[in-house]
Amino acid sequence: MMKHEISALMDGELFEDEADALYDQIKRSPGAHSDWAIYHMIGDVLRQPESIHRDISARVHERLLNEATVLAPRSHALKQKARVFALSAAASLLAVSVVAWMSLQISPETAPQLAMQQSNIRPVNLQIQPKSSDYLMAHQEFSPSNDINGGASYIRTVTYSPEEKSQ
């Protein structure tokens, strides 16, 4: 029933009040949501057969994971959701045991953001640049974390940034 209505809506065959009621229904129903998306994709394919013929949502999703964090403050509940989302995405890439270990909450570099809110500086990139790696290495050799964490703490000096990963 709803599918017909969505189709009719897309074809511009509904009256305004009917359309408004349907928008409300679509917002509330996840199933209708995906119907809406699929119908649009079908429409797009019919109109431009040479440019749309594959599902790129997985790749877009992957790129989103590597995207810089948005600095705008958010409500706590929303953040929580985003974390769960990031974790579930990671689960598809990693062994389950690893994910179990990551039971502690992930904070996507909250600290630098806070510092930046306090001052006016705006670094171009939050990640330490490769050209600064030598400072990290020189620092690491004298850090007490060598004695406590052992050689594993050297991982900080050679870990690769997400930008390098895509190359």
Partner: protein, 320 residues
């Protein structure tokens, strides 16, 4: 194996003899001791933000000292070999010596004054037991007494004293970075082959006990001072050191509060440099750089961003 028994002995002594407050700090001594004296190999996962990667580590104690190899298992091939205060790094298809500190790397640096500094800056708590990579561990929390440093949480194998998991948390108790072993072998079965392999023997710089004097780092009294170093950070090192891709030696000051360190680097600014100021991070490490009066300052440390910024903004030349 002998070392392993030694560690167990030490642990036993720790548990039986030490006083309450002292025993918590003794965990650190145990960890430092075990980490240097035990043969082990394993795989660990390192995570910060959305970044997760897996690495293999092997640590072997030979007659001429410790050998340690860290090898990336994800992404581009990277490798770090450490021996006797010397560090080699394989990355971008070549092996280069990146560090050479004569006479360093011998033995734990968990000296009594460092431990007392530590308890002045952190509240140490035992959080009970937990299992990591199939081993029973004791969880210990180091809660800072101010917000200028991070909270550290470690999981120590109750049998060998090795650190099996470590997390750094910010003042909101969110994890800034963590790593944990997913697999660990202790003693006997550790693969020694890579030490005698030609790859290691042909490392640039190995066998040379001393680098030429003009290439080695030298202790100096540089005249550079930091006015707003957070309390509890003591200067442990002041060097004039060569650095990769730098024409002139760089002054490095190292300050430690027993658990974290802050390094201050001072050099003449490159005229072509257009990146004059910025804050960046990698896991628990924050780096702030700024060009001030023709000098480039870099402050690096396992401390919150505000701390490296505070330190940099109070660097001053107090020499002649």
């Amino acid at each position: 194996m002998k070392a392993w028994v030694g560690v167990c002995g030490l642990l036993l002594t720790v548990n039986v003899c030490a006083t309450e407050s002292q025993s918590k700090l003794d965990w650190l001594k145990t960890v430092a001791f075990a980490g240097h004296q035990t043969d082990y190999s394993g795989v660990f996962v390192y995570q910060y933000g959305s970044h997760v990667e897996t690495s293999r580590i092997a640590h072997v104690v030979e007659a001429d000292g410790e050998y340690e190899k860290l090898e990336s298992l994800d992404g581009p091939k990277r490798e770090i070999i450490r021996h006797h205060g010397q560090v080699w790094c394989y990355s971008q298809h070549k092996m280069v010596q990146v560090e050479s500190q004569q006479g360093k790397g011998q033995f734990p640096l968990m000296l009594p004054d460092q431990l007392s500094a530590l308890s002045a800056n952190y509240q140490v708590r035992e959080l009970g037991q937990d299992r990591v990579a199939g081993y029973n561990t004791q969880v210990i929390l180091f809660q800072p007494r101010d917000n200028l440093r991070y909270t550290h949480k470690i999981w120590v194998d109750t049998e060998t004293g090795l650190l099996l998991k470590s997390a750094v948390l910010n003042d909101k108790q969110q994890v800034v970075e963590q790593y944990a072993f997913t697999e660990l072998k202790v003693g006997g079965a550790v693969d020694h082959a890579w030490i005698s392999s030609s790859a290691t023997k042909n490392l640039p710089g190995i066998g040379q006990e001393r680098l030429p004097l003009n290439k080695a780092a030298m202790s100096v009294n540089s005249g550079w001072v930091v006015d707003a170093m957070p309390s509890g950070f003591k200067k442990t090192m002041e060097l004039l050191r060569p650095m990769h891709g730098k024409h002139a030696p760089v002054t490095q000051l190292v300050f430690s509060d027993g658990l974290s360190a802050i390094s201050v680097f001072v050099e003449l600014a490159d005229k072509d440099e257009d990146d004059n100021e910025g804050l960046s991070s990698r896991g628990a490490v924050n780096l702030y750089h700024k060009v001030v009066d023709n000098h480039l300052y870099n402050v690096v440390g396992e401390v919150p961003p505000t701390t490296v910024m505070q330190v940099l903004d109070s660097i001053r030349y107090n020499g002649k």
